[in-house]
């Protein structure tokens, strides 16, 4: 690359870098700065306390509880979403009449605003009126109504089910796109060689989908780890904090009890967790893939 071309390159990238710095980097740094302070505006407290917030956080059972809830929610929901998304993508890959329609219909849960779908699920889960308990009774699976959102053991799973319903379409869509890249000749050749459907799935589809699966995992894990609105509307973090995620805890500390310092420490911790997860995925995605993406 000639030096003047290089200079032009920097000049062209410059505005984007400036915008990113202003809207992403500066707020993150501001939050990190706040997290080193004891700052409670209503008591006119605002002093630098170094790592005190983080030391308190390390011994705060409510933080560890919310971190555990977040991790559990993320792991279970992402695994289920990937499995269901993969199944749907493979089914939709076969040509059949009405496939276009199916693809469009599939996106409906994804298109509904989260708060709206959370309200909808709140009623589906309702112990008295809810469709879910009606179905359980009608099919004879359970006579006693299940208290989906009020029972400390069920509540987190109810939230996970809602998330899976809502975001599986996203996974399915990306994986469907991934499958489009596989040349049809490969399938035909495999069939000529006597491969069954399972063999084709395992030896052709899965390897071809690997980069796309990682992309799905990356997006879904980050989204699930930051989950807020879905759970907040559904349960508010209850009962007894069994569904309180890191974002919900940070929100309550920041905006309901106005402890800006400690709240920021929670938010920064959540950010660091997300950053760490991204780094792991980026490493997994591999240099080769990124070279291709950046090229």
């Amino acid at each position: 690359m000639r030096p003047d071309e290089r200079r032009l390159g920097y000049a062209l990238v410059g505005p984007a870098v400036l915008v990113l710095t202003a809207v992403a980097l500066l707020p993150i740094l501001a939050a990190a700065g706040l997290s080193f302070q004891r700052r409670m505006p209503i008591f006119e407290i605002g002093e630098y306390v170094g790592l005190a917030n983080y030391r308190f956080l390390a011994g705060d059972p409510r933080f560890w509880n919310s971190l555990f809830n977040t991790a559990y929610f993320t792991i279970v929901s992402v695994i289920l979403e990937l499995a269901a998304g993969l199944a749907i993508a493979v089914l939709l890959d076969r040509p059949f009449s009405g496939r276009g329609w199916m693809r469009a219909v599939l996106l409906v849960p994804w298109a509904i605003p989260t708060v709206v779908s959370a309200r909808m699920w709140e009623w589906l889960y309702n112990g008295e009126f809810g469709l879910l308990n009606y179905l359980l009774r009608a099919t004879g699976l359970s006579v006693e109504p299940v208290n989906w959102l009020g029972n400390p053991h069920w509540a987190i799973h109810a939230a996970i089910l809602m998330d899976v319903w809502k975001t599986t379409p996203f996974a399915a869509l990306l994986l469907t796109a991934g499958l489009q890249t596989v040349p049809r000749d490969l399938y035909r050749a495999a069939r000529v060689d006597g491969a069954g459907p399972w063999e084709i799935f395992r030896r052709i589809m899965l390897p071809a989908l690997k980069p796309m699966i990682l992309v799905v995992l990356l997006f879904r894990t980050l989204d699930a780890f930051r989950v807020f609105d879905a759970v907040y509307v559904l349960t508010g973090g209850g009962p007894a904090n069994t569904t309180e995620t890191l974002s919900i805890y940070a929100y309550k500390v920041l905006f309901q009890t106005l402890q800006f310092g400690y709240g920021s420490a929670l938010a920064v911790t959540a950010f660091l967790c997300v950053a760490l997860i991204s780094l792991v995925y980026l490493a997994l995605l591999g240099r080769e893939y990124w070279k291709r993406m950046l090229a």
């Binding site: 004891r38 409670m40 505006p41 209503i42 008591f43 006119e44 407290i45 005190a52 917030n53 308190f56 409510r62 709140e122 309702n126 112990g127 008295e128 009126f129 109504p145 208290n147 989906w148 959102l149 009020g150 029972n151 400390p152 509540a155 349960t235 508010g236 973090g237 209850g238 009962p239 007894a240 904090n241 069994t242 309180e244 309550k252 500390v253 905006f255 309901q256 009890t257 106005l258 402890q259 310092g261 400690y262």
Partner: protein
């Protein structure tokens, strides 16, 4: 065809821009007039009723215009908006409406003006005492009560009459009445008593009604933390027993909020309901299944103690950075004056904060239900009046919830709550 579409788009844009400019002009101060910005939550009732009141204010106060701006209907989001704006020294709004539990916090932070001159001591006696207590911080008045709310017991008059049962005065009577009716009706779709046990602010409102009607308190008169004790233990045990021992409340109360319970009761599927006054008008609508079949009474207490409805409602304050404090105070004086309180009650349905209005013939003819509310509002109790309240509530919510769903015994939950609360109140002032 294409050309026509393009023309339509251009026309639409131009009209939009013109409308935008017109709206922009309204906010500008014309010579000699000030424009007040009034922030509030969603106003119930017919959409034009509230604007009509503000127009009346503008007519009576030439030179002041009022722009009212609605915030999201969620109380949490309104709190968040005010906190961010007021902490950021925003002067974008002059008058704000505050939930009864925020005034201490905002006053302590120095975000709202001292309005003591608006409410001299002799004036205060005209208001219900609960809201006045809630807006008084260190002896000064920081907001003027606007409308009032309190927990109530709704009951199915038709069912109680059928079994010859009087509305319950104690919690024990309520359990007995619900049991008798449930056994007598033998209807698996009917439940006894609905209330709000989801982990949120409403749970605290409910729990305090049991705790205080068992003689307990969160803070005593001297500000000492006295939550963990026999009354609160009795209260939480009783709340859990409502579902597991007496089985008069369905398990879903541990995840229910106002609307969930309002709908089930409104569907004719419960004998008793604890809710706020707003539910009355919905139950009495023409298409309601229980229209004409319900009554309201003050909430019960434990025998030997007086009932203790939790106080709700909204108060008006002035942003300390407002550029037009006198005009803002005039608006508050107007909205809380007796005639406008009456008009607000008639046209919007908000419950007046002035006691005398509950003897107003015209108002009682239009809303006979107000007569039942008077005693409830008279004795309604504010939640702990302290700038720390929202922090205390955040500690109590999960602990009470744990006791209700059986994850912790009431003793443990109360002890855990008390420990964290004393850390907030008397330990380091937060971290």
């Amino acid at each position: 065809m294409k050309g026509r579409v393009r023309a339509a788009v251009i026309l639409g844009t131009v009209i939009g821009l013109m409308a935008g400019c017109a709206a922009g002009d309204r906010t500008k101060t014309e010579a000699g007039t000030v424009t007040l910005v009034f922030k509030h939550g969603k106003i119930a009732g017919p959409p034009d009723a509230f604007r009509g009141l503000l127009d009346r204010f503008e007519a009576e106060h030439p030179g002041i215009r009022v722009r009212d701006e609605s915030l999201p209907s969620s109380t949490d989001q309104q709190h968040q908006f005010y906190v961010i704006s007021l902490d950021g020294r925003s002067a974008d709004f002059d008058v704000l409406s505050m939930d009864v539990i925020w005034v201490q916090e905002f006053a302590r932070a120095g975000w709202i003006r001292d309005l003591s001159p608006l409410l001299p001591p002799e004036e205060r006696a005209a208001f219900f005492s609960g809201p006045i207590e809630a807006v008084t911080f260190e002896g000064h008045i920081y907001a003027v009560p606007w409308y009032i709310d309190a927990g109530l017991l709704y009951y199915r008059k038709d069912l109680l009459d059928k079994y010859g049962i009087a509305p319950p005065r104690t919690w024990e009577e309520l359990v007995g009445a619900a049991r008798t009716i449930l056994d007598g009706q033998g209807d698996p779709r009917l439940t006894g008593f609905l209330w709000q046990g989801k982990q949120y602010e409403g749970l605290i409102c409910n729990a305090l009604e049991y705790i205080e009607s068992a003689g307990g308190h969160v803070l005593d008169r001297d500000g000492k933390l006295v939550l963990a004790g026999p009354p609160a233990r009795r209260a939480l045990t009783f709340m859990r027993d409502l579902t597991v021992r007496y089985k008069v409340s369905p398990p879903l109360v541990t995840t229910a909020d106002e609307e969930t319970t309002r709908r089930i009761f409104g569907d004719g599927r419960a004998v008793f309901l604890r809710n706020w006054p707003y539910a009355w008008n919905l139950f009495e609508r023409k298409d309601s299944k229980i229209r004409g079949k319900i009554g309201v009474v003050p909430l019960p207490g434990f025998s030997g103690y007086s009932p203790a409805a939790t106080l709700g409602g909204w108060q008006l304050g002035v942003n300390r950075r407002s550029r037009h404090p006198e005009a803002a105070e005039a608006l508050i004086r107007f909205l809380t004056s007796a005639p406008i309180q009456k008009a607000t009650a008639l046209e919007i349905g908000y419950k007046p904060v002035r006691k005398a209005l509950y003897r107003d013939g015209e108002l009682l003819r239009a809303q006979p239900f107000f007569l039942d509310l008077y005693d409830v509002f008279l004795t309604a109790r504010p939640r702990p009046v302290t700038p720390y309240y929202l922090m205390l509530s955040q500690v109590m919510q999960p602990e009470f919830s744990a006791a209700l769903v059986g994850l912790k015994s009431p003793e443990t939950a109360l002890a855990d709550a008390q420990l964290q609360m004393s850390h907030i109140l008397f330990g380091r002032a937060g971290t």
